[in-house]
Symmetry: C2
Subunit: 332 residues, 2 copies
């Protein structure tokens, strides 16, 4: 029989149905050989074609005029944009609409077209994370921004449209319900217990051990108890940082190594799977409180979000996270 | 600039970003020619191979011994199952787990392997809907069932694993958060106004006209104001039926024609797109109240659910539903 597990951070349930008898290595795909070149003359993210993107917001190293390691540019096809003022209207006194004011930026992670975070050096990944941090801090200064979504789409099934490695950061003028729900649950736990829900969750995962992939001095990497998809992985700090905005340079360097190692294990164990990751953090206006803990959620796209998930919000996961961890650990 | 629109039924926002300049016919794909045969000797849903499925729950016509039009069988790989008793436990006093008790059935829509609802006769589609209704009513009798999710996955991008046309019905032992949220919003609207939110929504869509695809005597078919994906389509009754369980045989016959016409227009306008549909209905224990209206949501899978959607729950739709409606209406 299948089991249902509750995600302590959303209170929603996940169905873990292992009846199909899928083994962890069933999710391994043969890595697609794209025969990518290190430079694509048509790619707007490749060096020499910087004029194909909107004007640059940031580049690392700061003082480089020609060579760059990381660039941040506005998304040419922005979901929300800087133009226009914040308005709200009720159409026909029933429907509510507002202007898509906000920020939508692209972090170009490397000048090299065929590169990936899993194959970059720790120093190179650190530069990407420093750009995340820089832009995260900039966006949370904008009082119009109610929520910051920092994410990466890797591969076609994860929704990427350009192969050149990049991440995205979006500052939205509304707080998404899912995000609001996570805060509500965390605040309720804090009110009940005086403790941080995520701190408790990380402690419980470390105690249970069976889903922990590895630890570094300041981070824990684990498959969560109520994993929504096979090999869902969280990276969480061991200290009490509510917001990614407060992360220190020393921690960024350590995180770079942890993230690179994790993605390298994915590549080796699953054959360069498509994945999304999302960096969750305390709300910009409330980030000194101790009810939240920033963390990264990695969701491999080795299964399909189908009608049941869309209709109920409940995910069906065909592999027990304990079994997934046992398998993935061999590649670490 | 993009616009944000609030879904009145969930209070969540959708971003409509048309900057990419996508036109409705950009979503048209060349229909894949699978060269399917009407009978596949390896398919567990094809006639003659009935022994490959678990024992039958229902068949239409009832009195047929050999030939059948529709069969309902337990899902061999059930997300939730009949076995076992309902238990809940708290693992390590923190994590909550329960047994996956419930129902998971497959409605085999036709004996013909290469058939589709859009190409079936209205009478044949009516038989499928009658099976939906029959099993919906059966599942809502079970006091352990807190929510019924009736859905169809059509095509690989929609998560189908078997090509032979089929739908699924799942009775879960918990109420999913998304479903609970929809009820809460509807009840709050009812408390505020004394009216059914969905009734108001359908009235407003009919008044606005621009997103209505067509009407039949008892049904309205429209792209909702806050469409999450290109060509999202709702089919809603004009009367006050809270639950699909109360639908009459006359209405089922009419719905069969409406559903078939809608899917036919999808085929013609978009080239047999992958899609999910979900039948939403009032909660089993509360279905005589007038705050809800059952309805069908069709979600074409012509775009990808990516990191932003997974991280925020907010969908980015690249086409205005008014424009989608203008285009799709030409095929009706």
């Amino acid at each position: 029989m299948s089991i249902l597990r509750q995600d302590p951070t959303t209170k929603d349930w996940v169905i873990i149905a292992t009846d199909r008898g899928k083994r962890p290595d069933d999710f391994q795909k043969t890595a697609t050989e794209f025969a990518l070149l290190p430079h694509d003359p048509l790619c707007p993210f490749c060096p020499g074609q910087e004029n194909l993107t909107p004007p640059e917001i940031l580049r690392y190293p700061h003082d480089s005029l020609l060579d760059w390691g990381v660039r941040v540019v506005p998304n040419k096809y922005a979901a929300v944009g800087l133009k226009g003022e914040l308005y709200r209207k009720e159409t026909d006194h029933f429907f509510r609409e507002m202007g898509g004011v906000g920020h939508h930026e692209v972090i170009i992670e490397t000048p090299q077209h065929d590169q990936s975070l899993s194959r970059m050096t720790t120093n190179e990944v650190e530069m990407v994370l420093a750009a995340y941090h820089d832009r995260y801090c900039a966006l949370r200064q904008d009082p119009q921004v109610k929520s910051i979504v920092l994410f990466k789409n890797h591969g076609e099934r994860a929704g990427t449209s350009l192969i050149h490695p990049h991440s995205q950061i979006v500052g939205t003028p509304v707080a998404p319900l899912l995000v609001r729900k996570k805060y509500e649950v965390a605040i309720s736990h804090f009110d009940d217990t005086g403790r941080c829900l995520y701190r408790d969750l990380v402690d419980e995962e470390r105690l249970a051990k069976v889903r922990v992939l590895f630890e570094s001095p300041s981070f824990v990497v684990f498959h969560p108890f109520a994993s929504r998809v096979p090999f869902e992985t969280w990276i969480a700090p061991k200290n009490e940082e509510a917001t990614f905005g407060h992360v220190t340079p020393r921690h960024l360097a350590e995180l770079a190594d942890v993230l690179r190692r994790t993605l390298k294990a994915f590549d080796d164990a699953l054959g360069n799977p498509d994945f999304n990751y999302i960096l969750h953090s305390a709300p910009p206006e409330d980030d000194t409180k101790h009810y939240f803990l920033w963390h990264i959620q990695i969701l491999p796209r080795v299964s399909t979000i189908a009608g049941f998930e869309l209709g109920s919000g409940i995910f069906i996961n065909t592999i027990l996270p304990e079994d997934a961890a046992l398998y993935l650990k061999e590649y670490l």
